[in-house]
């Protein structure tokens, strides 16, 4: 990897100021994607600003009808949180399915969302669980946050501080793992909210690993609301690569939807 400067942030404000002052600086959290990308010389930031130890970015707590998870909270902590396992089991289960134990000991929620890998797990949870992505300057609805492969609504110098998930009536996540990387070949997060006034009778279905980026599968949510068979998934932007052709990935999504529904 190329040389860079390293500084440990003393606060979110100082980190944001450092980012604004240097256009090629990047924030570092768990580093599970950033450091391999730097080792492969795919990116060469001038500086890394380390957020991983800021206490205000770490934790899991219930806030009324929501659960707040700090951006620098590690996957292992989310997976093992007893309160979250009770309230939003699909979210805790999802965190425990990311990568492998060593990756879960370092990787963080904020890093996963900011990177928005089209096969990452957390974006599906954020979208299905009506999340608000909180930054140091605003909060962004998950519906407006994910803009396709590795693209988000974040400004270059904007920092995710946490995520507020809406507690559903029930939810589940099912994932077909790529056998080598552990990323989702297809991952489906199903959440049910009270029906009153809600789109699709309160059902939300988010899909990752299948297309150009995470997306809401409206036809599946509608079918769940009407208790009718789910139509096949059709996407023009389905990933078609050496690991799985597009039609197979779309078929996997239907299977993962069925698995998730059985786990509800």
């Amino acid at each position: 990897m190329y040389a860079f400067n390293y500084q440990r942030a003393e606060s979110v404000g100082s980190a944001a100021a450092a980012l604004s002052a240097d256009a090629s600086a990047k924030v570092l959290s768990g580093g599970m994607t950033l450091l391999p990308s730097m080792k492969h010389r795919l990116i060469a930031p001038s500086a890394l600003i380390d957020l991983a130890r800021l206490p205000e970015l770490i934790g899991v707590r219930e806030e009324g009808p929501h659960w707040w998870v700090g951006a620098a909270t590690r996957h292992q902590e989310v997976a093992a949180h007893a309160g979250l396992q009770q309230a939003i089991p699909g979210l805790a289960d999802l965190a425990g399915l990311i990568g492998d134990p060593q990756v879960r000991a370092r990787g963080t929620l904020g890093g996963s969302l900011a990177n928005n890998d089209p096969s990452a797990d957390y974006p599906a949870a954020a979208l299905a669980l009506r999340a608000r992505i909180l930054t140091e300057r605003r909060d962004i609805a998950a519906d407006d946050f994910f803009l396709g492969m590795f693209a988000t609504a974040l400004q270059p110098d904007e920092i995710i501080t946490g995520v507020r998930f809406c507690t559903p009536v029930r939810c589940a996540y099912a994932k077909f793992k790529h056998p080598a990387s552990g990323y989702a070949m297809a991952g489906v997060f199903v959440a049910q909210y009270p029906a009153a006034g809600a789109e699709h009778g309160g059902w939300r279905v988010a899909v990752t690993g299948v297309a150009n980026g995470v997306f809401l599968w409206h036809e599946a949510a509608q079918a769940l609301a009407q208790q009718s068979p789910t139509p096949p998934l059709l996407r023009d932007d389905a990933i078609d690569d050496v690991h799985a052709p597009a039609a197979y990935r779309c078929h996997l999504a239907l299977q993962m939807l069925n698995q998730a529904c059985q786990a509800l």
Partner: protein, 156 residues
């Protein structure tokens, strides 16, 4: 950049470039060559060490990220002779060439800390971040089961 850490119970300091990986700090600066670098792409887990008690892949962590932390390598595992997990790997022949073994042992110790009595399926999942190209994993899973029994006896 200067950093301080506790390595296998001893306070150590170093002055290394920011881009130095923790694995390279341990091997090159401190001579702890029991930490192996297999793939260098966070796939194989041979470089697994404990940072503040949690198993991590030291090839995918900067040395400066461990500043102020307590790091344990395979050399520091057994307080007095071999650790029970090392004994079990030896007795069950949970290795052949041995290259992956330091990482397997460090990951197994971490797994047994979080889940003291894992099922074979939980052991397989718990070691999903570690690759062995020799054994087919059968004896590794047996070794972790035996280590679990030894540690349970020690605890009771």
């Amino acid at each position: 950049m200067k950093l301080n850490l506790t390595l296998n119970g001893t306070a150590r300091s170093a002055d290394v470039p920011e881009r130095t990986l923790l694995a390279d700090l341990l091997r090159d600066t401190f001579g702890m060559t029991g930490t192996h670098v297999g793939c260098d792409t966070s796939q194989c887990g041979c470089c697994t060490v404990h940072v503040d008690g949690m198993a991590v892949k030291s090839c995918t962590m900067l040395a400066v990220q461990a500043d102020g932390c307590s790091v344990t390598t395979i050399e520091g595992l057994g307080a007095d002779g071999l650790h029970p997990v090392q004994v079990a790997f030896s007795q069950c022949h949970g290795l052949q060439c041995g290259f992956c073994t330091p990482g397997m042992v460090m990951a197994s110790v971490d797994l047994l800390r979080r889940n003291p009595q894992p099922t074979p399926a939980e052991i397989a999942e718990g070691l999903a971040g570690n690759l062995c190209r020799c054994t087919g994993y059968v004896n590794i899973i047996r070794a972790v089961q035996q280590a679990s029994e030894i540690l349970q006896k020690e605890a009771s």
